[in-house]
Assembly symmetry: C2
Homo-oligomer: 316 residues x 2
């Protein structure tokens, strides 16, 4: 019998799960070749503009396969609707039976990206984070901070947003959650004052300039997830001491690393896969002077891991 | 608010819909280039063997997009479970919102294949069908006959199945539905006595030999939907007067036409697309002596059309 779970039920159960372990395992399974994730499906719409993604696959030897549909229709916000949406389906990999429909409306995608950010911080952040810099003021800017709390004690946050009202709103909300948040006027302020930076915008041109990035800084770029979007200058990726991607394969066609690669400033050998970084200390941050960058493009293995965890908990 | 519909609700509403028109429109939209259906997703499992397909897309200018997941796990039957399974999701193409989950367990896929068979019969069957020959005794063998009833008056049926108990069971069931069904011992009996033949098996070698096929016969092959399966001899496709596929593109990698093409016996110019046959009388059966073949590989546009029809009716 197929179980149907609402977004409300899912939101309620998520804090009870150890998602950092789940997603971390997902990344290592992936880099060990224990995951079957075919190329995702995509649909595009023009009027109004919209993108749909279908991520699917399974962990080998697992009893499940997962199909996640997610969408972004930016103009939804003018109708008072969320711009992002989604649903996750979990099937039994021995019979094809549909076990559960997670009507999460995209919530689990947002969470899994934020958890991936925390995993990155665990292995790549400088030992002492003086200030966390957040570029962007949306859902992901909020969630990244919330999950970062599980792996760092730093509560000092600088935030920049294109829209200053949204930035003020962000600061007010996150302050209530125990962070000391200061709104800054430029991304230069972020670069010059924070040594752990998260970029969460849909920018299509670099939004944080290389000249503003200090020695010893780590940057996690989560905004760019296609071949058009771009938040960092290629020179930043090129000169970073450690460059990590969730998926080498996806970085060949999407995100910051892709932008650097098409500019001829980087080769495959210069990029590490997060699953390998997790497993091998030799690939992790080695000194407090290194500039490190993680480019997260988003992978089906995250969806698989988070869906399984939610399902097992809710169905038990 | 997402609506959830059970298989029971769906089965109940299907007879009230004019699915022949809906699917027929789908085929013409497709051949007119009015459909966006990217390549389907696939997952394969070894132990036990299983295939999963993800068909998705939209009719341009339509307010919906549809994602259908279907699976076949043949060993399910030994557990008393259906070997096929599935679920269909309908989204709003202006906002990405999930409108409905059709928990059809694969029923709509079976129906849409059967309806496609009826559409084919409408345009390609000989004027007078003396006997309908059915090869195979599964769900599709049943549904093809039921939908054929909407476009032909012939009630005389010959059936052949590898397993004679199943063939007897088929004959008993379909007789109750008003057909005169005779179980035959060989597919030669089918070829020599029926002039409208439906092949519905998962055969990987030709199951109906060319030498047994009479002048004036139409054959609809629905079993083969990948590069391995094959129910007809390539020479049958090669010598047929009219050869029709649902999708020229899919026939380049799957089904009977693919098998004929890799044997060098056919080129693209020899194959018509069903949508064009529907629209243009010049492409339809021209005489009672012609041998005609339709190879149905199954298309997302069918899923889109049937899902929309079911949704609109159930949600209204």
């Amino acid at each position: 019998m197929t179980k149907i779970f609402t977004q409300q039920e899912i939101i309620k159960v998520v804090p009870e799960l150890d998602l950092i372990s789940e997603i971390e395992n997902g990344f290592t399974y992936f880099s060990e070749g224990q995951v079957n994730v075919p190329q995702r499906g995509e649909l595009y719409f023009d009027e109004p503009p919209g993108e749909v993604r279908i991520n699917y696959g399974n962990i080998l030897q697992d009893d499940y396969y997962v199909v996640k549909m997610s969408s972004a229709f930016p103009q939804n916000t003018s109708l008072g609707l969320s711009s992002t949406n989604g649903v996750v389906l979990i099937f039994h990999s021995k019979s094809g039976q549909l076990l559960a429909v997670l009507l999460d409306k995209g919530y689990l995608t947002s969470v899994s990206t934020a958890v991936a950010g925390a995993v990155v911080a665990k292995y790549m952040a400088p030992k002492k984070i003086s200030k966390i810099g957040v570029i962007g003021t949306g859902t992901q800017a909020r969630l990244q901070l919330e999950y970062l709390e599980k792996v760092t004690n730093c509560k000092e946050v600088l935030v920049w947003g294109r829209n200053s009202t949204n930035a003020q709103k962000y600061a007010a909300e996150m302050s209530k959650k125990g962070f000391n948040v200061e709104v800054v006027k430029t991304t230069a302020d972020i670069g010059q004052n924070a040594n752990f930076i998260i970029t969460t915008t849909p920018a299509i041109e670099p939004i944080l300039l290389d000249k503003h990035i200090r020695k010893g800084t780590h940057i996690t770029a989560v905004g760019a997830n296609d071949s058009e979007k771009n938040e960092l200058e290629p020179v930043t990726i090129a000169r970073a001491d450690i460059v990590v991607t969730d998926s080498l394969d996806q970085s060949r066609s999407s995100g910051e690393i892709f932008q650097t690669w098409i500019n001829g400033l980087i080769s495959d050998d210069d990029v590490l896969e997060l699953g390998n970084v997790i497993k091998d200390k030799a690939f992790q941050r080695a000194s407090e002077n290194q500039v490190t960058v993680a480019d997260l493009t988003g992978m089906a293995v995250q969806d698989i891991q988070i869906a399984k965890a939610v399902y097992k908990h809710l169905a038990s």
